[in-house]
Symmetry: C2
Subunit: 372 residues, 2 copies
């Protein structure tokens, strides 16, 4: 009896956007959902209670990074990822496939495996499909990912075809390697921005009957319009009864566009990374807190937001924290940006149920353009 179940509460008649409900061993995730990124078993600067206050229900951690530090066996010895990081909600681990792209200078790639030279000390970490699943079983997330070959946007169609076929091969090996039954293993569709390669990838993976499918190989350097077009071609091939996860995306506008193309799950470092750098998302558009215009501004960052940063502090104080390089600046802006992302998807979900997702998307995009 599976501990997972995915169902749809509503599908927007105009766009096809979905309001779903995903039952996992660690709780229910209402979709569309955004997963904050906790690469090393911590969403940078935030406590689990603060994450929950932001509205987050599921978080992401990274196989490659945790395998290097502190090591998957250490996490296992310390009770697994949930106990380790004190997050009792659902967790998803990326397989390390994204590091095939992001650490391209530090790895050797064959059909058998990828070998990384550690970005920390130069030691080697070998990830085969079997090892990627094994590590993820040690870490113990609810949702785990197949190892994939993720090429950059600029690569040739031939290189991307090789990546598609390698990803198919590896998906089958991951499927065969899986031992634990309390983890949902997702397949990853590759194929860059090429419709025929996306189709080739999806059609090879669908017979393997994964409990969910991710769209990988986007947000790797292509233009937003190319990403949206690729979703237009790819999502309709995926089984409607299973969750669909767009990996590593993205900006608030990307979330709106992707949900309106049928995506259910997201992760991205943007809200936390930009927050650490003093950039805030707000209901009126982006705000750069270091800007001198905020120096004596008593107003809240975003009057429509109920997060601590907005309820308790002035823009002037937040700016001061960044000018003085105080840790509280990154903490508060990470919390704010995550709260913004969670609210955006919560309101979008409501719009889907009300049948007006397209109007909601248009109204949000229009408001964000207001910012001077």
């Amino acid at each position: 009896m599976s501990q997972f179940a995915f169902s749809l509460d509503a599908v927007d008649p105009v766009t096809g956007a979905r309001a779903g409900r995903w039952i996992t061993p660690h709780g229910v995730v209402e979709t569309p959902a955004f997963m904050p990124v906790g690469t090393l078993g911590t969403v940078k600067g935030l406590l689990p209670d603060q994450l929950r206050q932001s509205g987050a229900r599921m978080v992401l951690a990274n196989t490659y990074h945790l395998a290097l530090r502190p090591g998957a066996d250490v996490v296992e010895d310390l009770g697994g990822l949930h106990r380790f990081m004190d997050w009792d909600g659902p967790i998803l681990t990326d397989s390390g496939g994204f590091q095939v792209f992001s650490l391209a200078q530090l790895r050797e790639l064959t059909d058998d495996r990828v070998v990384f030279r550690s970005h920390i000390d130069g030691s080697t970490l070998e990830l085969s499909p079997e090892r990627a699943v094994g590590i993820q079983e040690q870490l113990g997330a609810d949702c785990i990912m197949c190892l994939d070959d993720c090429p950059a946007a600029g690569e040739s169609a031939e290189r991307i075809r090789v990546a598609v076929d390698r990803t198919t091969l590896w998906a089958a090996r991951c499927r065969a390697a899986q031992r634990r039954e309390d983890q949902a293993l997702f397949g990853i569709v590759q194929g860059g921005i090429h419709p025929e390669l996306r189709r080739r990838s999806a059609e090879a993976l669908l017979p393997m009957n994964f409990p969910g499918y991710a769209v990988g190989g986007l947000s790797v350097g292509e233009a937003p319009a190319a990403m949206y077009r690729t979703l237009d071609w790819t999502v309709p091939i995926l089984p409607p009864e299973k969750p669909r996860y767009l990996m590593g995306v993205g900006r608030p506008e990307d979330l709106l566009e992707a949900v309106c193309r049928g995506i259910d799950l997201f992760d991205c470092v943007m809200p936390t990374r930009n927050g650490r750098n003093g950039m805030a998302f707000s209901s009126r558009g982006r705000v750069r807190l270091r800007n001198a215009v905020h120096q004596r501004d008593e107003a809240p960052l975003d009057p429509e937001c109920r997060c601590l940063a907005c309820v308790r502090y002035s823009r002037g104080y937040l700016r001061h924290l960044f000018m003085a390089r105080e840790m509280l600046g990154p903490i508060l802006l990470s919390l704010h940006n995550l709260t913004f992302y969670q609210r955006l998807l919560r309101e979008l979900r409501r719009a889907i149920i009300a049948g007006n997702a397209a109007e909601f998307r248009a109204s949000q995009l229009a408001r964000w353009r207001e910012e001077p």
Copy 2:
């Protein structure tokens, strides 16, 4: 009618340690009390609610640093320090006198004033006694400090005599410059480790009838035993009915020794700075979290502590955060160390009321020696 009142609930018959109660415009502080240091209007990495959870009731901020960044007029425009940093409890601001010591290479000192070259951009900041009080009135803390001349421990007796007399002169000018009636202005006794200079300083300041007295010029390089001896000479000269504040001190053992010599108030960067560096105070002594022995340790940092770091996490996870340079490590250990300091003084206060402060001091010092 003053908004301040200090009273003693108990005095330990053996040591003279005091359990006091200090009413301020922003609430009551039970003494002995430790003030976390929020130099730039934030205790590094912690939210006000977390500070309160640690047990802190009063915090410290710094005149010199806030005058440079963001500027006292900016803090004033943004509603004053309480509103600015969202701390509705009592606040104390140091006058900038400590920077006469800590930034000795960056300042010119005369009887009239001290001129700093900014450690940020080389611009100048002039602090006269009048200006130090003026800035502190703009910042709006509950308790403000006279500008003092704070020499290093290694200075000659003649230099320290000059500092004593300059501090006396400046104290009179600060007293005369004070305009706000809702702030308690403390005098600062200087005199290094010289009994006759401490007496000279105290006897010159007492007629000015400050509502509280600080012991400055300690924790500037002298040995702990010399500091304790200096307190033995100095504290008895101070008026028993007023709060006594030992500036910039110190280690847990220093707090025990100083309270048992009649001190009521403390501030120090040690719990937060050491916390950021991976060093924790615990009921069994100091713990270095980076130590490899903690790698797979499921035990809490301190089983007797109720802070988030101890209740929710293993030593293994805390070590991982420091090895991976994750912000959550400094956050959790700052919170833990402050919780340790607050609990220590709370328990010491109980011991004073029970009349066994000396036994409490001895038992704590013995436990801390247990750590391997």
